[in-house]
């Protein structure tokens, strides 16, 4: 039965319907528990289904779907980050009295799209998955309906995101026009290098994807969307949807690496270096935590694109480690931001003042995450960067390695400001300071992932 291969996605779809229906019948007071409970259940089943398909490599549905270990790894990744995101947003949704069922259903809808994207080998399926992610993302960005910042973020994200989607689809139409097929393997097989229409098609397609990745020069929407969106959704944008797009871009590039003109590869390298440098430079002058994290994620996307430029098995292995650790550290930092925000401290860097005193666990964890994002041993971030450096040195791209190291040094400056604020500056915290078990759990899981990867990165490569 082919449907077995689609089981993770079917689970998600059923879960979404169940959450919406359950919301209609349960009492008003227990809506949040119901929605999040069902969400946790759905994602747990999703994880099990994805794990069961772990070693399978099979095409299904007339080539629309490809289940393979590479995609299954990212499905597991999505399942875990999704669970952590639900824990992260539970108290946030309650505090702001947002509509819980809509929130969880939209989030799971985005995960459904991401899950389709990572296992699609056909451009149309990939497009539908991407649009599912995009449409839910626009709505989630504007989820604080009364907040002008949030609706503005949603508006900007929507307009620029739709332009990018249309560009991507235009690229698909040219690739189809030249080869008469929508399947990546067939298209790549019937192409020859340097044909005008192919270059236009693949460039338009890549531009659309790079836009969704917020890589320089298509990054202008990201800081606005990430700053205005609700904090858990900001976390989702930086660790969820971007990773799915990255995987899709990887499939495209690995299929086309033989036929794409050399210029396209160097275009990719330029985008990667530009993202790193611009992301890190502009992050230097940010004071808003969410905006700072947005620029930092632009920089990290630059590192990840380097792996695609290199295209060696070592680089892909490094990418897995890097993505895993980056997501853990980012989720952890966003859990801490969510907590400080819930204490009415705002989301400026200064909001962290005295964090190490009032909540030592979060203070120490922040240290671990910052070390990891900068790439200081013994954290996992160091391993991710090290593997990436080794992969680029192996390919004799010494200048690239040097640029990556310099960028790492640059990023120390702004990450350090967070730590300085948490440990070396102090300010009055308005009592009572409330603990939040769900956020503490997220932070602890993230710390464990980061530290374990620092010692043994192999577990992310199994």
């Amino acid at each position: 039965m082919q449907y077995k291969l689609l089981l993770p996605e079917i689970t998600l779809a059923a879960g979404i319907l169940a959450i919406i229906c359950a919301d209609l019948v349960v009492a008003r007071e227990s809506r949040r528990q119901t929605a999040f409970g069902l969400g946790l259940l759905t994602l747990t089943i999703y994880l099990m289904a994805a794990a069961a398909l772990g070693g399978v490599t099979e095409h299904a549905f007339a080539g629309h779907l490809l289940v393979d270990p590479w995609g299954s790894f990212f499905k597991l990744f999505f399942g875990v980050t999704g669970l952590l995101l639900l824990f992260l947003s539970y108290s946030y949704v309650g505090q702001r009295s947002l509509a819980p069922a809509e929130f969880v259903a939209l989030l799971l809808g985005a995960y459904l799209g991401m899950s389709l994207m990572v296992s699609s080998e056909q451009l149309l399926t990939a497009y539908v998955g991407l649009e599912l992610v995009s449409l839910t993302s626009y709505l989630l960005a504007a989820f604080l309906r009364q907040d002008p910042l949030s609706t503005e973020a949603g508006l900007k994200y929507f307009i620029l995101g739709s332009v990018a989607s249309a560009t991507l689809l235009f690229g698909i139409s040219f690739l189809y026009g030249y080869t008469g097929s929508l399947e990546l393997a067939t298209i790549a097989g019937s192409l020859s290098t340097g044909e005008g229409m192919v270059v236009i098609g693949s460039l338009l397609f890549l531009c659309g994807l790079l836009f969704k990745l917020a890589a320089v020069p298509f990054h202008v929407w990201a800081p606005d969307a990430l700053q205005g969106a609700p904090t858990p959704i900001t976390a989702f944008f930086s660790v969820g949807s971007k990773v799915a797009v990255l995987v899709l871009a990887g499939r495209f590039i690995s299929h086309f690496s033989g036929v794409l003109a050399q210029e396209v590869h160097y275009y990719l390298l330029l985008v990667a270096i530009g993202s790193m440098t611009v992301g890190n430079l502009v992050a230097l002058r940010q004071t808003n935590l969410k905006r700072l994290m947005a620029y930092s994620s632009i920089a990290h996307i630059g590192y990840l694109l380097v792996a695609y430029f290199l295209g060696t098995p070592e680089a892909y292995a490094a990418l897995r480690v890097y993505v895993g650790v980056y997501a853990a550290a980012n989720l952890g930092i966003f859990a801490i931001i969510t907590w400080t925000e819930s204490q009415n401290r705002g989301i400026e860097i200064d909001s962290f003042r005295g964090l190490g005193r009032v909540q030592p666990l979060f203070g120490l964890a922040l240290g671990v995450f910052v070390f990891s994002l900068v790439g200081i041993p013994p954290t996992g971030g160091f391993m991710g960067k090290l593997l990436l450096f080794m992969a680029s040195v192996q390919e004799a791209h010494y200048i690239l390695a040097v640029i990556m190291v310099l960028n790492g040094v640059l990023s120390v400056v702004y990450y350090y400001r967070m730590l300085r604020s948490a440990f070396f500056e102090d300010s009055e915290w308005i009592a009572p300071i409330t603990k939040n078990a769900a956020l503490e759990a997220v932070v602890l899981v993230a710390v464990v992932v980061v530290m374990v990867t620092g010692v043994w990165p192999g577990w992310l490569q199994m």
């Binding site: 149309l124 497009y127 539908v128 649009e131 449409l135 626009y138 709505l139 504007a142 309906r145 009364q146 907040d147 002008p148 910042l149 609706t151 503005e152 973020a153 949603g154 508006l155 900007k156 929507f158 307009i159 739709s162 332009v163 989607s165 249309a166 560009t167 689809l169 235009f170 698909i172 139409s173 040219f174 189809y176 026009g177 008469g180 097929s181 929508l182 800081p223 606005d224 700053q227 205005g228």
Partner: protein
């Protein structure tokens, strides 16, 4: 029969007009219309190529139907966001919506 190159040129022009409109206009609704124009350009392209390949290769026409459905959903989402923005700021003039920058 209209030559394929004419149709592709038409699609290219429409796409360009849509892109310019989406990036340059200041009214959100006009931007949405421009985006729809871009999607229609894609549909012309897909259907034109599909006809070029003949009835044995209907992928393009199927893709055009998918693109239309997704485009409709996109318009619905966009209008919902516009309504939310208009309720908060009483206008949808993009130049005036500038709380977020740098």
């Amino acid at each position: 029969m209209i030559p394929l190159s004419w149709l592709v040129t038409l699609a290219g022009l429409l796409f360009g007009i849509g892109l310019l409109g989406a990036l340059l206009s200041t009214n959100a609704v006009r931007m949405l219309i421009s985006i729809e124009l871009m999607l229609n350009a894609v549909n012309i392209n897909l259907v034109a190529f599909s006809r070029y390949y003949g009835a044995s290769q209907p992928h393009g026409e199927i893709a055009a139907i998918f693109a239309m459905v997704v485009g409709a959903a996109e318009a619905a989402v966009g209008l919902a966001i516009f309504v939310a923005v208009a309720r908060n700021s009483k206008l949808i003039d993009i130049d005036k919506i500038n709380l977020l920058k740098w």
